[in-house]
Subunit: 788 residues, 2 copies
């Protein structure tokens, strides 16, 4: 009765007015780059073509949501919590096992490769070389083939995309099951194939993918899904899971659980809560246990060539742990070099990557495959050829260094590689670091108590060659991480500086391996610009806490020097990909702009509460906004904003057609929708575009019907007055992880002021108890705009 | 002209209407506990009497502020950044030196005490006992005397108050210079006096005080201040400094820089930015270097008794670093015991502390002093008497344990104390942990490769006694930390479990010292409920990374068990003190409440733009709100909210009297106030009440004058529509660190929707460039409500 009565009062004028004023906008309005187009990220460079989507970390408190919440009893709450922790456990186990699988595969492929090459080389150098090249080429080809044909989103490091995801931008394909498979297999191929890249960045992506696949309840494409897992089908819960996955990835890659937590915190996340810390920590701990258990199992010889390691732990606990005052100078110098070289590396990767994106990779997959194979060929030729041209060095005096095994026994792993040496007591210092797996090469560079193992010229040759190789390799269409190349580059010049210090001081306490470690830290600091997490990772992988202050010093300097030139590696890559990541702080110039400024003169596109289906369809087709204010009319003819409706909700409604009605009469819709929609029906699947408006068929008769939007709007979007400075708007948007903020006129009155006291749970509870006895007035029910 | 014209139109009615409607409210309106009183925190239990103040982390974008910002050139920006980093450096140096000073004093006092006692005991046990009691009593008395008479805010741990400060509540006196001095001197007395408490918590408070004093540019009371340092006189910058100070405190206390950063992040801060991480890290690194340098200097024998340590580093790198599967059971048991005992400890401290606060300590300082002296006496009697009643144990076989020095040489530090043993080859195991400095006792409990050093009965005796002592001691009016007592309690039962495991397994690889360490971790985890930070601190102080997974496991269990019973130690203390800290997440029941609910039926107290001085004074006197909406009238007679004015601003205006005017004519005030007020004049000094309205004298003639509030309002406070759910309001309030939120009616129209794209700096910059050529329209100028 109420609805009809209302229609009697102002129905006729109201709905007719609505249908004329709300005519579809001309479609030309979304053409210019500077217009207010709410496609969220569509107009930033290339991004529009890639179909990125903003994520919505705000809860849409629609009627559907509130009914869902009301149904949630204690049991659902408990099962939700249990599920969260179970997922954390599973992410840890999954990431740990993936890391183990990748490592065991890489080590075995590399092992077979080097064993076969050394065996053939005894007969013919040329055949050995061919075998080496073909083996590498085959691995790299399989990697690039899988990536280009099957999982294009698996190329590269993946960390920039994950960073963007956790900032609120979903890149298509980045968190799918196929990407996970492509990443794991691709990593094995590219790292096993000896390219100048690492498997650590991809492991972070792998962890994030595992988290996302779990959170989705399986893969939609492969029809592996469980209904009860769909509890996590909202962006906020998924964000938390992906954060756990990132930490797990780092924890697995470096066997560094605390480092993993800090990495997630410092480098990839945009929002953080202390409750999350606890869960992320748990996930990392699980990874540590899984990896440890798996390695124990391998210790019994079950894993082929893996026996000797693979998981990077470069124990340098035998190294230098004290330093004299004058050594601070070369160490500071290391920091400066790291900053300079790191910034240079970042800058050159930007040029190369943007050339690749804009020119080379536009030519199709065939070019990508050829490029990767070419890089593999160059790498093989250099890593085989350069050591071949290097003179061998006599082994160190066994009496002075009784622990040194020189040269290492054929077919085994270790230091002092005998490559192309004609004497049995010689070793090839360039081959020791170049003709080796990367983990072993780093171990050899970090090796302590091996003074003068490397000739300065060898190190310089390797530094230049490897720097260029790493540069060229990053950006090919294979999964690639930057940690290991960074460590190798840094360790090389670190060892160089160490040689200088040893020569200058003639003291035994100076250890070249320690300088190599500091060099590695400095290059990573200069390139990636991480601080605490990198510091902890370096300490954890070298297992030497006493080096902490030195690593800190080096990192402080290298980051400061690097920051003078450009942004960090991942930030640059984020920008290059056109990922519209919002920094945690607004820019200074935003102080002088107001919210009104961003709106400009554009008319806002809005719906009225009861809208014609045809009108909705034409509006949705004519623009690509994702949120539309919904208005209604009061009895006195004034308008009132009843909320914001999302495009995705409208599309679900248009698809279901269940709420179409013949007359524009607002009914009392409460309680009705529960049986028709689940709140999760409105959730968009991760990393893929939802249904488009153009995919929906609506008959002409249906076009003439009406729909009451009230139950589906978010009744209370965050609002700001039009003259609020952009700094404050930015903070609101960024801190709360919003997708839309409504700009409203300056309010005409203030109903009250909320302070800290009003929000204290104990005060509210007490008050609720007092009032419960008296009445239920003021409780949160339906949007009370009708009573205004 | 414009102002006058406006007055002609609607001035007469407008101002007269204002003066009648805005009559002062009856003073009875602020009497009930459940009314909407905006004294922020005044009505929460005892808090009101303590005069806590809310902090304002939001920038008040008043005209004064904007003019100040406009003047800031590049140079001021650079000097601001430089100052920030200089402060971080100084906080690090200051905290490091303070920690060093406390440690050196404690070690020397303890050294003299034990040396003198042992010397006298050779002649007479009774004289030795008297000397011991008097020495302890004198130190504790000096501590409690300093604290009660001079710096009452220095009592206790200080961490709960710092936590509250960083959440937005300023407790009076907590961050003053006198508190700093009281804390340092008090710590020396209470720790040197052998009480069952630690110096680590107080060091965190010390670091925070140093940060705050620096940030204030010296102490106001002692007239040590520099004008140029006043740049930091705002709550946000001070918050960042205090965060650095906390991290520095932990870094200094445990020589654990990474642990310090994590502690600040996990335990004390409520807001966190990644830029801050970098600065906090820097501060911690500085502390590490300062402490190291100072200890080197002491290594040359410059520091008396300090030579043997003092800074807690319990190196147990010789301990167990592998474990068999079945050992996970006793380790999990340790976790469970830690959770149970920790929760029990928390619960008992709550009872004791609340009794102290409500009964005992209300009786005045004399009682507090007597209480502390009594506790000291009991501690002395027990720590002297119990070992006296213990039988001595023969030293371990020197052939089997060649490294063991047993008993330790007289007058030196170490393990195996000969106390009341009649044979030279015996030691007293209870005295080894009880009649010793706490650092040495912990070192002895953690000592590796000393199986069966302690008898089970000895450990049980010590555990029970020390648990009770720690319980009674916490809450006396001396600075007291809970880390060291927690470690001692945990290490004792850890060692007990270790003995059980050794007996059950008969394997040499099981090390009691490692179990002691895990026990310590479990008790701290069960009591304080920290995770990552505690884990890193434990690893850093024991210098053994390999124990990381075990410590993680134990912590996970102990925290989970403890959480089943009560909240963490600091959270409980925060609640007990009535500090209205807002948790990072809203409670579940807030979903069902709306913003309107918090307002209730109370009428909002507001000012009009031009208000009578007398009216302002009477409103300020009649209530204790801190923020008042300010309204104005449009040409058509409608009202518009022009912003929110803070009580502190009004008081400054009333005190200065410079803006009083005879007629209610709004003038064009822009540019005028610059010369009269500095933006910093409006800032409240930290940890003390500002000027009260009752302290201001205004003549009757002045009472009749007017004041134009427009230049001083915050024109754009954050607003929420009345029916927004409290969950969302809470998030807004908490995430942005607000002090006031204005509740407004549901808006009548939306001017536009802001999305991610609208806030991207590059988009805004591009647009600004385009528009700059055309016009300056839409830029942020004065509040444009006149043009509405």
């Amino acid at each position: 009765m109420q609805g009809e009565g209302r229609l009697d009062v102002n129905g006729g004028t109201k709905w007719s007015r609505l249908l004329t004023t709300d005519s579809p906008l001309p479609s030309s309005s979304s053409s210019s780059n500077l217009e207010h187009v709410d496609n969220d990220i569509g107009d930033i460079g290339e991004a529009g073509n890639m179909g990125m989507e903003s994520l919505d970390y705000e809860v849409v408190e629609s009627l559907a949501y509130r009914e869902d919440q009301a149904q949630r009893g204690m049991w659902r709450h408990v099962s939700y919590i249990t599920l969260k922790w179970t997922f954390s456990l599973l992410i840890g186990v999954g990431t740990g096992l993936s890391a183990f699988f990748i490592n065991i595969s890489v080590e075995n492929f590399s092992g077979w490769k080097f064993a076969a090459t050394f065996a053939v080389m005894r007969h013919s150098y040329i055949l050995g070389f061919l075998l080496y090249v073909l083996f590498n080429g085959a691995l790299v080809f399989s990697s690039v083939y899988i990536v280009t044909q099957f999982a294009p989103a698996a190329a590269g490091s993946g960390i920039p995309e994950i960073k963007a995801y956790l900032n609120g931008i979903d890149t298509p394909g980045i968190l799918l099951f196929r990407t996970l498979v492509g990443k794991i297999l691709g990593s094995i191929g590219s790292v096993g194939g000896g390219l100048a890249l690492g498997k650590e960045g991809p492991l972070v992506h792998t962890g994030a993918c595992i988290a996302s696949v779990l959170g989705q309840g399986g893969s939609t494409n492969y029809n592996v899904k469980w209904r009860w897992l769909r509890r996590f089908k909202n962006d906020r819960d998924r964000r938390d899971l992906v954060t756990c996955g990132c930490a797990a990835g780092v924890a697995a890659a470096f066997r560094s659980p605390v480092g993993g937590v800090l990495f997630a915190l410092e480098e990839v996340t945009s929002w953080w809560r202390s409750q999350l810390l606890w869960r992320v920590f748990f996930t990392s701990a699980v990874v540590a246990v899984v990896v440890r258990t798996a390695m124990r199992w391998c210790g019994n010889g079950n894993c082929g060539h893996f026996g000797s390691g693979g998981f990077i732990i470069w124990d340098i606990s035998g190294g230098q742990d004290d330093y004299s005052f004058y050594e601070l100078l070369p160490m500071a110098m290391l920091g400066a070099i790291g900053g300079l070289l790191g910034a240079l590396f970042n800058q050159l990767t930007i040029f190369l990557s943007s050339w690749r994106r804009n020119v080379l990779h536009k030519k199709g997959n065939r070019v990508k495959i050829m490029e990767a194979c070419l890089v593999s060929l160059i790498t093989s030729v250099l890593s085989f050829g350069l050591p071949l041209m290097t003179k061998c060095t006599p082994c160190p005096n066994p009496e002075k260094y009784p622990d040194v095994v020189c040269p290492r026994p054929s077919g085994q792993y270790g230091n002092y590689v005998n490559f192309n040496c004609h004497s049995e007591s010689h070793y090839n210092d360039l081959a020791t670091i170049f003709f080796n797996t990367q983990d072993d090469a780093i171990r050899n560079l970090f090796s302590t108590n091996t003074p003068r193992e490397y000739n300065s010229y060898t190190l310089i040759t390797f530094l230049v060659t490897f720097f260029l190789l790493a540069l060229v390799t990053y950006g090919t269409a294979v999964p690639s991480g930057q940690f290991v190349p960074g460590i190798m580059i840094g360790a090389t010049y670190g060892r160089l500086v160490g040689i200088l210090v040893v020569n200058a001081s003639n003291r035994d306490s100076v250890d070249e391996g320690t300088y190599a470690l500091l060099g590695a830290a400095s290059f990573l600091g200069g390139s990636m610009r991480m601080t605490v997490s990198l510091c902890v990772i370096m300490v954890e992988i070298t297992n030497n806490l006493k080096l902490l202050p030195l690593i800190m010093l080096v990192l402080l300097i290298s980051k400061a020097v690097g920051d003078a030139f450009n942004a960090g590696f991942y930030e640059e890559q984020v920008q290059l990909r056109g990922l519209p990541v919002l920094d945690s702080r607004p820019k200074r110039f935003m102080r002088n702009m107001s919210a009104k400024y961003t709106i400009g003169t554009k008319k806002v596109i809005q719906f009225s509460r009861i809208s014609k289906v045809g009108h909705i369809v034409s509006v949705l087709r004519s623009n690509n906004h994702n949120g539309f204010p919904v208005i209604d009319w009061l009895h006195n003819g004034e308008t009132v904003v009843i909320g914001l409706i999302l495009r995705s909700y409208l599309i679900v409604l248009l698809q279901a057609k269940a709420d179409f009605q013949l007359t524009p009469i607002p009914g009392d819709t409460r309680g009705r929708i529960t049986f028709r929609y689940d709140v999760r029906d409105f959730a968009k699947p991760v990393s893929s575009k939802g249904v488009s408006i153009h995919d929906i068929n609506i008959s002409p008769a249906e076009m003439e019907m009406y729909i009451d939007l009230e139950p589906f709007v978010n009744p209370t979007p965050y609002i700001v007055p039009e003259d609020m400075s952009l700094t404050k708007v930015y903070n609101l948007f960024r801190q709360l992880g919003l997708r839309h903020i409504c700009v409203v006129p300056r309010p005409s009155r203030v109903l009250g002021v909320i302070t800290r006291q009003d929000l204290l749970p104990e005060v509210l509870e007490e008050r609720a108890m007092v009032e419960e006895a008296i009445s239920s007035r003021g409780r949160y029910e339906a949007p009370p705009y009708e009573e205004l």
